[in-house]
């Protein structure tokens, strides 16, 4: 589908121009490698880039939590259509996690502006956790249940939250027009293909 109106074009161009500049630790301003640690501030959900020393010192306190990159496929796991409908998410792609700022479970799903956050009913989430105990110990703010039910898929992953936001970023980059367009859904398909390829057999978690 041809794009019918511009999106956040100014942000995209400016981010491309600054993308490959040197990055610095958000705490001590020291130059850091392209692959570096991230801390999440629990009260706000904000991400911070950190040098190894700051990640070590601050990542074990109460204010910040260190992001540990992980991806587990939840095999033998399925949300029933009724459980999914209870989440009241308008598209078949979302991630769900416990948010400290929101003081409860939230779902984030993609759209043309970036992401929509929807507070989940506690009762609906409690029912799902009771039926699927492997979700009970999702680390608040840093781990999420990633759900892909697009085009009949029934894929579920337990992932670190950076994986989810990278999916949102990918969608924002490729979204065209009101419905997203074919290109964005091809990109989403490629994202899940790569995600599956990255998962080692030992990272399969049986439901």
């Amino acid at each position: 589908m041809e794009r019918t109106r511009p999106g956040n074009w100014a942000s995209k161009l400016r981010r491309f121009v600054v993308a490959e500049r040197e990055e610095h630790c958000d705490f001590c301003s020291k130059a850091i490698a392209p692959r570096h640690s991230h801390l999440i501030e629990r009260a706000t959900g904000k991400f911070f880039c950190a040098c190894p020393q700051c990640a070590l010192v601050l990542g074990t306190g109460d204010r910040f939590v260190a992001l540990v990159v992980r991806t587990h496929a939840l095999t033998d796991f399925n949300l029933t259509d009724a459980e999914w409908d209870d989440f009241r998410i308008p598209i078949d792609l979302a991630f769900v996690f416990h948010s400290t700022p929101a003081q409860g479970p939230v779902a984030i799903y993609p759209g043309p502006a970036g992401a929509t956050q929807s507070q989940l009913g506690v009762a609906a989430w409690t029912r799902v956790v009771a039926a699927h105990p492997m979700l009970a110990d999702l680390d608040p703010d840093v781990e999420a249940l990633l759900v892909n039910r697009m085009n009949g898929a029934r894929e579920y992953y337990r992932v670190s939250i950076d994986r989810c936001y990278s999916l949102i970023g990918l969608i924002r980059m490729h979204w065209r027009g009101l419905s997203g367009g074919a290109e964005v859904w091809d990109a989403v398909h490629d994202y899940f293909t790569k995600l599956r390829d990255e998962i080692a057999p030992g990272d399969m978690v049986h439901g």
Binding site: P6, A10, R14, V17, A113, S118, Q119
Partner: protein, 190 residues
């Protein structure tokens, strides 16, 4: 101030193309080619930004400068260039507030209240609340998202919080008048 419709449509097409070309540049596998394109863009944008900053400073120094800048901010072509260079006289938060205030009566009539929760240099949070039992149709949500993105295309993210639990109730007319009156008094420092 606005150009004619033909010019405005051409600008929109240019911005769509700019967005698509940026995505293409991001996808270039050859890191040397990508870096060369990035460096070229950086220099071109820097030269234009410095020039625009001087131009804005000259306008602002004139007696009629503030009025002229207000007029220019309404021109879609000037607005686009100011947004690209981070030189728009209104912050993203102010632009989002203006867009919401402009559209709020229409959205309220469709059962939604839209509020700007926060706005920073790279992102903003907007909350949607229902004022009725019915779910807002997806088309309306998309329309809201598109209007917000149009108002602040320089933000990386506009996070939309859809509060499915709270029901926003319109206060009865008399109470609303009192609330408006208090707000007006507060604004006037009374």
């Amino acid at each position: 101030m606005s150009g004619d419709l033909h010019d405005d449509a051409a600008l929109e097409q240019s911005l769509i193309r700019l967005e698509a070309l940026t995505a293409d540049l991001n996808d270039i596998a050859d890191s040397k080619g990508r870096e060369a394109a990035r460096a070229l863009l950086e220099v071109v944008l820097d030269v234009h930004r410095l020039s625009l900053e001087r131009l804005n400073a000259i306008i602002a120094a004139r007696a009629e400068g503030p009025t002229l800048i207000e007029q220019l901010a309404k021109d879609p072509h000037v607005r686009a260039i100011w947004l690209l260079h981070g030189l728009h006289p209104r912050s993203a938060g102010e632009r989002l507030c203006e867009a919401i205030a402009r559209m709020q009566p229409q959205w309220s009539a469709s059962g939604l209240r839209v509020d700007l929760v926060s706005a920073g240099p790279t992102s903003a949070i907007v909350q949607l609340q229902r004022n009725g039992r019915a779910e807002p149709p997806d088309q309306l949500r998309l329309e809201i998202e598109n209007i917000l993105v149009d108002a602040a295309p320089d933000l990386d993210d506009i996070l939309i919080e859809l509060d499915m639990t709270a029901i926003y109730a319109e206060p009865p007319p008399r109470e609303r008048e009192q609330i408006d009156g208090k707000d007006a008094a507060r604004q006037l420092g009374v």
